[in-house]
Amino acid sequence: MTLELTDLSLRVGADMHIYPTTLRLEVGSFNILLGATGAGKSTLIRLMAGLERPTRGSIRVDGQDVTGRSPQKRNISLVHQFFVNYPHMTVFENIASPLKVSGVPTSEIAGRVEAAADILQLRPMLHRRPQELSGGQQQRTALARAIVKESTAIFLDEPLANLDYKLREELREQLPELLAGRGTVIVYATSEPTEALLLGGNTALMYEGRVTQFGSTAEIYRAPADLHSAQVFSDPPINIAPVEKRGDRMHLGTALDWPVEGEAAGLSDGEYVVGIRPHHVTPVAPAAAAVPITGTVRITELSGSESVAHFSIADRVWVSQSPGVTQFFVGQTHEFHMVPAECFYFARDGQLAARGSAHG
């Protein structure tokens, strides 16, 4: 089973909500839509679910065009960010409802509901109403309703965003496991790069209504196709600055310059944008060859396991992220170390020009 989008777009009035998008999602795959709020993740899911009609383009399931089909006839499941359950039904009735409407024999329903409830540890709550449950249990009920029927695709629209930290981690660990091996296409929208990396699978990066890159999560993390993709897939935000390549050195204004390495050595001289993730700008000199940067510390964040410092360099503010506790003093200068091999160089149109490393 495959879910194929071909030049799918949505325009509302004069605004393009989704630019023409072509994606091919395979059965059994875990596909993540990663993008900031307003990037179009929910809209794309609504298009795929049939809740919104595309302006152009088509959606095919196994080669069969389902573009004009209502959501009822698509045999899909959807879990929203907000815990949506039927308030007047018990948890059991909630989970059973998709089976009941699709005419599954009553004798079969109880068994399947209980199986789904077991996977999501809802067995003791089956006879309660959703509003008597905690947020995590309510969302687990919604998840159980999504997995109880054999759907072509399961769409999860930031399902963990409204849960507290502990529950989110717990459920995030369980999710890939309980969704695996269902023979369905899974689409999971999130705004957190960390979540995408933890979940693995494939990721489609979204920026202002466009899918900027699609591929295996680990792969596109290593090689963002363009500046927007790099920005979407970095938390804290990736450090960027305009640079100029002159000969075998990169110049960041007059403040800083470093030798170009790897693929970047092959670039022609001229102006580029450098991008480097915050964890490759560290207060302690790393094992790899590094360039010292002196910056004035603006803001510091200590979380116990890691230290984050925002510092100004030239006329920009960069972020450094490092494990452990490093003492920074706001307003004072501090020496950071940047690893040129971890730099991305983008051409002026935003496309990736070269990486600081050799390959891979």
Partner: protein, 265 residues
């Protein structure tokens, strides 16, 4: 503490005085009522109530009133539920104007419509039927119902509808088995207001009926004129008129607070 509770107690006594007077009168004989001032009935009598429960003109008045009020509540809800859903879920051309226009229907004096309605219902042969009064009361009850229900429906996230459609519910099935149960508190509050407004409305009810659908309030005025001043009887009829409203209020009292909280009632 004592002094502080004194004020509301006095206030409530003050408010309840006319109702007490009505109840006291209903147990007095007409002679006693006309004879002079008495705080309690000197001679307790149930004759007034006996008349009402035995004379068909009286008890049919109640039956008529309850019939057209119930019919009106059902029609109004049936029309307003889909309308309110449309206003709360879709945006269409002129939706805001239409919504406001619905409200303005409530602002027109009912008397304006009495004559055209009388003519119209006579012409189509509906004069003096329950349906005539029930339909006439829709004039102000449907806008009211749409207004209240829209408030309740907008409090239900649209995601509920979408989840149901994705789960496979057809629209009618979703509406009747999921949506209506979800907003049943709102429907209760709405039904209460529909019931009350239709119950207390007199002008249209009297204009559109003659014999067979005559409401209780009309019976009261006509009996008074034909049999002199049967004050005790009228008082008893008045007491019985208050009771249905009191019963309905008792059942929906908790929902009403919720309705007020939503700011639409």
């Amino acid at each position: 503490m004592k002094a502080r509770s004194l004020v509301p107690i006095l206030y409530i006594l003050f408010l309840m005085l006319p109702i007490y007077w009505l109840v006291a009168m209903s147990f007095k004989t007409t002679n006693e009522i006309l004879g002079g001032f008495s705080l309690f009935p000197q001679v307790w009598t149930l004759d007034n109530y006996r008349v009402i429960f035995t004379d068909p003109t009286w008890y049919w008045g109640y039956f008529n009133s309850i019939s057209y009020v119930t019919l009106n509540t059902v029609i109004s809800l049936a029309a307003a539920l889909p309308a309110a859903y449309a206003f709360s879920r879709y945006s269409f051309m002129g939706d805001k104007h239409l919504f406001f226009w619905l409200l303005t229907n409530r602002m027109a004096p009912v008397a304006v419509f009495a004559l055209p309605f009388f003519q119209l219902y006579s012409a189509v042969g509906l004069f003096d039927t329950y349906l005539a009064v029930a339909l006439a009361h829709c004039l102000f009850n449907i806008p009211l119902a749409v207004w209240i229900l829209e408030g309740f429906m907008s409090g239900i996230p649209k995601e509920l509808d979408e989840t149901a459609f994705v789960d496979g519910y057809s629209f009618p099935r979703f509406f009747t088995t999921i949506f209506v149960p979800t907003i049943k508190a709102g429907i209760g509050v709405t039904a209460f207001f529909l019931f009350m407004f239709s119950w207390v409305e007199l002008l249209l009810a009297k204009t559109l009926t003659a014999v067979y659908a005559k409401p209780i309030a009309a019976v009261m005025t006509r009996t008074a004129s034909s049999a002199g001043y049967e004050l005790g009887l009228l008082a008893a009829a008045g007491v019985l008129t208050i009771i249905p409203g009191a019963i309905v209020i008792y059942f929906v009292r908790n929902y009403i607070a919720k309705g007020f909280a939503l700011g639409r009632v």
